[in-house]
Amino acid sequence: MTAGALGDAAAQERLCRFIAAAAGAQAARLVKVTPLRGGAIQENWAVDIDVDGGPQAGSHALVLRTDAPTRVAASHGRAEEFALLRAARAAGVTVPEALWLCRDPAVLGRPFYLMRRIPGVAAGHRLVKDLPPGAPRDALVERLGHELARVHSITPQTIAALAPDQLFDFLGPPSANPALDRIRLYRAYLDDLDLQRPVLEWGLRWLELNARPVHAVTLVHQDFRTGNYLVDARGLTAILDWEFCAWGDPMSDLGWFCAKCWRFGANEREAGGIASRVPFYRGYEAGSGRRIDTASVHYGEVAAHVRWAVIALQQAARHLSGAEPSLELALTGRIVPELELEILNLIDTAGQAGRAA
């Protein structure tokens, strides 16, 4: 039950000592530790603690996130994610409060942080079928549009003002054309894996020839989709999974959110399988003051399927290499043809629209 980073009493004891010191408390006691099913990328634990003394005295329901043994290229580690959560919170995005970061591998063997545990359902296949009562579909996607606008209010300039100490240097310098940089990156990933996939090349070539003008360069979440936010009876409670953030074109996040591969089978509801695009776009435009460029969102949807296919191939390779044997990673490799079919369809649609215009 408790295999992994928190699997033994000695590790739990070290965790308590870390929390007590970080919280400025006399002591911290673990009340309950439960492994959570997280993404394929890292280990997540539900941790209930009692803190004695100090400003945080009392009981806390938390989530502990550690790095997994291996990870997908381009995903950030826990220290970076911790910094991003704090920046998002400062920008008014609804995120769990990030409390304490531990970089010392002597505690749990890898970096980890603790954040408040937020109630709600994340599972995409459940949310597209049954939203909790009190969370009407249109209102939820409109709110998500507002939230995404707040993510995109974070720019290289606002980050510099927030953290002048190079805390966010891991995001790299903003690129003049993030879309073209990504094409180069995905081709390099495919070459590294020694995989020849004509359909993905078809998609990448189309993305190269049809690159859109860059609207702005902002923080992009890069995994803003159904499955990565929490909803309860009050509506949206948190935006999760900040490990893929980068500087990029804001329209790419809208494409990712609306992409068919993230509708969990509810294909007729094009905004994340939840509702139509109209309230989502309305929320985003109201929150950002930016006009939606539908051609750029369509481009973003092609890019989304190409990107997810490349990541899926990398996930499968993690399994196949023996580095991280996992049925979930293995099966992820077999979803690639679904993504490829959609890439072909989306490019045909764009071609027809282009000729009609």
């Binding site: 020849q196 359909v199 043809p337 072909l344």
Partner: protein, 132 residues
């Protein structure tokens, strides 16, 4: 030698039925997804066994037609799987290099091949998506 029965595919079908009907209801809720993943993996394997030779020769013929190439001759004969993999690798390189950018018959032929090859893969990995 006559193969013993039940054959592999028959054993697999019964193993999957046992998993879904007998074992899955006994799994704790947090392990149910693992059970479903195992069942899905078994279903993919069953379809691959059923297809035996998963359309390799047909795909090779379609690809050669799309590339407007004759059947390979003069070269040392290689297994159709190897020829298909080699030609797909070349197609991938050529697409990347811009060989099929122009909106012409060659592009249309390659587009048709990509559709057929993708659907052949989906028949194994997720035929539900094809309405099958």
């Amino acid at each position: 030698m006559t193969a013993d029965r039940p054959a592999g595919a028959e054993l697999l079908a019964e193993a999957r039925r046992t998993l879904l009907e007998v074992l899955l209801p006994l799994l704790p809720a947090e392990r149910r997804y693992d059970g479903l993943m195992v069942a899905n993996a078994m279903a993919i394997v069953a379809r691959e066994l059923d297809a035996r030779e998963p359309g390799t020769r047909e795909m090779l013929a379609a690809l050669l037609a799309a590339l407007q190439q004759p059947e390979p001759s003069g070269e040392p004969p290689s297994a159709p799987e190897e020829t298909l993999a080699r030609l797909e690798a070349r197609l991938a390189r050529d697409i990347r290099g811009g060989r099929y950018d122009a909106d012409d018959d060659r592009r249309a032929a390659v587009r048709r091949y990509l559709q057929a090859a993708t659907i052949a893969r989906l028949r194994l990995s997720n035929p539900k998506l094809l309405g099958g």
